[in-house]
């Protein structure tokens, strides 16, 4: 069987490795000049690389942990010691807890309401949840306005949804919010560092895993091959790349194609015959995340009794976290600009972004010297990702896109973290989607039935 995989992110690479192991003839077409997609290493010093994109994992991410072990990669703990820093109501405070200085009862009410709505979602088929139509129509922001009126809950909610989903609550449906929180292991698991989805980082950087997978695939991976069209007939499928002086070939023939790119990019490919169901709609949004990495000679905030963890009510750096290497050979603070703040930040020039990030850092940590380096990774501006952490399903999207999320279009099959109902949006979801689609192709006869089986697992 000849298979072309479109996209050399974690989902596409997993698919390719699994298919090669089963004897398939595989070619991976990647638009960028690197593999990894939304997993990308940012050099901070001669020996330290920060995660520009996906970074964290926890014990529930069993397939990711197995893949890391298989490739001899380790994990580094994110355990924090020291006080948190908060910039709320224009006041800077430091406390031992991770809870911002907001009304705790109001926050508890908010989490109670979130738990209630998460419990309403059918994780194996969100579009068939009771009240799916109502929950799919309503934005998360409208839902909050009805459910929790306390101003402190209103302040906290966009920060929380920004942190967990890289989303502006006004741009996603309640169904998407509730599904995402359920899919990732629940509110508490997704939010937690220790004992949660941020327990570890991949030692040396998450991109190392993609590089290890790509190395196994060798010259099957073709970089700088952006795919623009996919034609199929009864006999085969032809994948067309954007003509390019560096690209020797622009046409690849196969028996099957796996499209392993985010939904907004898949929607941009021209399919002949046309898709029966869209991959994204006008309501589907880009994950709104910009990461700012600040380098210091050492994690000096620790000497001042601070963990480096902060939360601010206003951007750009809505939160910061200590991502220093385990040997403390450098200090790395990662600032997260998410949700509506990311859209505003992305519109600034690089100088303005840097100035705003440094000014915010001075307010958060006035004792720190200026960083030796400040790197901005703007996923909103990335042509070949169109957002990060993951695509955001807006009002109406789950009912429209959900039922055909994994349904093949003839010879075209789908992978990518946004096609995984388990750990949607995370590295774990990407791997599971790759494994699912590889199984679908190998046991080919009834792809639709196979995908239902996997989804119900």
């Amino acid at each position: 069987m000849r298979v072309v995989v479109v996209g050399a992110g974690l989902a596409g690479l997993t698919t390719a490795v699994d298919l090669v192991a089963e004897g398939a003839e595989v070619t991976v077409l990647e638009a960028r000049d690197r593999v990894g997609g939304r997993m990308h290493g940012i050099p901070m010093s001669a020996s330290v690389v920060a995660d520009g994109g996906a970074a964290y994992l926890g014990v529930q991410h069993t397939e990711l942990l197995a893949l890391l072990r298989e490739h001899g990669l380790g994990v580094a703990s994110t355990a924090m010691a020291g006080d948190s820093t908060f910039l709320v109501s224009d006041r800077r405070t430091t406390t031992a807890s991770r809870v911002p200085p907001l009304d705790a009862v109001a926050l508890g009410d908010l989490f109670d309401r979130l738990e209630d709505v998460v419990a309403q979602v059918r994780p194996d088929a969100p579009w068939e949840s009771p009240q799916a139509e109502r929950l799919d129509r309503l934005t998360a922001a409208q839902w909050l306005a009805d459910e929790v009126k306390h101003p402190d809950a209103q302040t906290f909610f966009p920060l929380f949804i920004g942190e967990l989903m890289a989303a502006d609550p006004a741009a996603i449906s309640v169904l998407h919010m509730a599904f995402y929180l359920h899919s990732g292991g629940g509110i508490r698991y997704l939010n937690a560092f220790e004992g949660g989805a941020q327990q570890w980082r991949i030692d040396g950087g998450a991109h190392l895993l993609c590089e290890a997978l790509a190395e196994r695939l060798g010259d099957r991976v073709r970089l700088r091959h952006p795919v623009c069209a996919i034609d199929q007939d009864a006999d085969e499928v032809v994948v067309q790349c954007v003509p390019n002086v560096q690209t020797a070939r622009s046409e690849y023939r196969a028996d099957r194609v796996v499209v392993a790119v985010p939904p907004l990019l898949a929607q941009g490919i021209e399919f002949r015959p046309a898709l029966r169901a869209p991959r994204a709609t006008a309501a589907t949004g880009r994950g709104c995340a910009v990461k700012v990495h600040l380098a210091y000679p050492a994690p000096i905030w620790r000497e001042q009794g601070l963990s480096g963890w902060s939360v601010s009510a206003h951007g750009p750096l809505l939160s910061t976290v200590d991502d220093s290497p385990p040997d403390q050979s450098a200090g790395v603070l990662t600032g997260f600009v998410t949700g509506a703040a990311a859209s505003a930040f992305s519109a600034l020039s690089s100088d303005e972004q840097r100035d705003a990030a440094l000014a915010h850092t001075r307010r958060l940590f006035p004792q720190l010297p200026p960083p030796t380096q400040c790197s901005v990774t703007d996923w909103l501006a990335e042509k070949y990702s169109r957002g990060c952490y993951a695509a955001l399903f807006g009002p109406g999207d789950w009912l429209r896109l959900g039922p055909t999320l994994t349904e093949p279009h003839g010879r075209v099959h789908w992978a990518g973290t946004e096609t995984s109902l388990e750990f949607f949006g995370l590295m774990e979801g990407a791997i599971r989607s790759g494994q699912r689609v590889a199984t679908e192709l190998i046991h080919g006869a009834e792809p639709a039935a196979a995908s239902r089986k996997v989804m119900a697992r």
Partner: protein, 73 residues
């Protein structure tokens, strides 16, 4: 209302039966997010709004009940 009522709140929020009146919430695996849910349940059931600092200083059902009793004699 008694400390037992807060024991039940702990059991529900922590999803474990292993709670008694002197159990430490954080030793049972509770974290700050779950602590706020205990505080919202106490506010609903006792009509008393405790702060997060109150919780951290008294992280057991009997400790929190004493705090509730002080606020509302």
């Amino acid at each position: 209302m008694s400390p037992d009522h807060i024991v039940h709140i702990f059991r529900r929020v922590l999803n474990t039966p292993e709670v008694n009146a002197s159990s430490d919430f954080f030793e049972l695996g509770g974290d700050s997010l779950l602590a706020t849910r205990v505080l919202s349940a106490i506010a609903r059931d006792f009509g008393t709004e405790l702060s997060y600092d109150d919780f951290v200083e008294n992280p057991s059902p009997e400790g929190l009940f004493a705090k509730v009793a002080v606020v509302v004699p």
